[in-house]
Amino acid sequence: MITLSEIALALFLVADFILAGASRLRSAVRFVAMQGLVVGILPIFMWNWAEEGCPGARVWIIAFVNAVVKGVVLPLLLMYAVRKARTRRELEPIVSFPVSQIIVFFVAIGAFIVGRLLHVHASSASELAVPVALTTMGTGLLLICGRKKAITQVLGFLILENGISVFGAAILLEYGIIVELGILLDVFALVFILGIAVFQISRTFDSTDTDKLNHLGDTHLMHPHHQHDHVHA
């Protein structure tokens, strides 16, 4: 089973590279869905079958719910938002796609060095999991900071969250079922609200570029013509 989890983690790494270079939102959502499925199943792959036998109902339930929500429900929601907001692709990212891939490459190297130094003391967790988690988190942050479309930023947040979940799986953390489901519920609700916000932004601003969201600031009331914009209260 350890080999299986390593293959899954390697796919995760490849997905990070592809996501850093993906401009089509639909295919990006597909890769995030793939990551979500893997994140859900990972605890079962990492389970120490040889010594602990078949995992209990808790593990199965969490894995199933996680995989369904992160791999199916949220991607469907995002696909719906992509369709509604009529944005197909990221056209002019702040950090260009090749540069993003190079950044992810160096993040991965750094993450593997850090993972080497840290040495996770866990019995059956794969040695790969911590570096992959860190790389995924870096990719997520890169997508949030380096892209303009609101939906890509939501995707980046999901990738970041996936990376954190992989880390949780790696250090074999067990919170208990309520907390795990609570975390999942929070993520779900957040993506839901962000999806609604994307829709409203695309309707109000006629665009989903977040650089249009630059009106608020410390100086905007100094221009006289803005004072009339602020008549609401």
């Binding site: 080999t3 490849v14 891939q101 593997f112």
Partner: protein
Amino acid sequence: MNILSVILAVILAPLFLGIVNQTKAFFGGRRGPGYLRLYKDLFKLVRKSCPRPMPSTWIFDIAQSVSLASVIAASIVFPWSGVGIGSSIVPAVLFFYILAAGRFFTVIGALDAGNAFEGMGASREMQFSTLAEPIVFVILGLLVMLNGDVSLTSVLAGVSSETWRESIVALILVFGAFYAVFLLENCRVPFDDPETHLELTMIHEAMLLDVGGVDLAFALYGAALKFELLAAFLVTMFVPQLSNPYLHLSVIFGGVALISILTGVVESIMARVRFFKTPQMLLGALLMASLAVFFIACF
């Protein structure tokens, strides 16, 4: 045995493109042209004469033949059944340069025809293969690092089961990167579409617009052989060397068939990317290969 296996490889080559097409037909819900279609096409083409465009010179005449000859030469040195003819003294780099020589002749043949579309295709072909070269070199470097010698036999000696256990991630990354090169070199989706009918979107096919008859048969057959050769390279990279040459040969052909099916699946589910995305995808492949080198070197 060596000569026999080379002859077998030369004969079987068009079959694998048939497998790709049948897989695509299966996913598209069509009956497909059949596994042996390319044999029939080739048979039809060799009976035709080859016309020659007005401004072209003798270069155009020899281009396709030389190109096919180079692919056959490469397949002769390839160790199909474990050890090839002279593969223990041929460096792996030379193998790729024999293939590059074939490409060179295709390209100057296309330029010689004096057709604008062919010139465009030639330019694109050269651009992309230049970008693919660093990936090949990084991967070759990795294999040399693993196996300790630059000759084709030892580079392709296969990955020991110990390496499999320890650095599976690196191997997956290498597979992904080399598969990208494989698709690019064979002009498959997502880099090029062998079935496109629009000259503006062609890469490889654009260079063959004026080629007909026996020359076209040579070009098509050369493409099929190159497909088989690179797929076999990909398979041999990962499969450990087997003592029984017959077994080795059949494992390689089985692997090539699997890769043909994989290619058919990839072509069915992927659309072809825009031209200016291609360098970026190749960059991604290069980075993955470099990451693999990093893993193997440091862990």
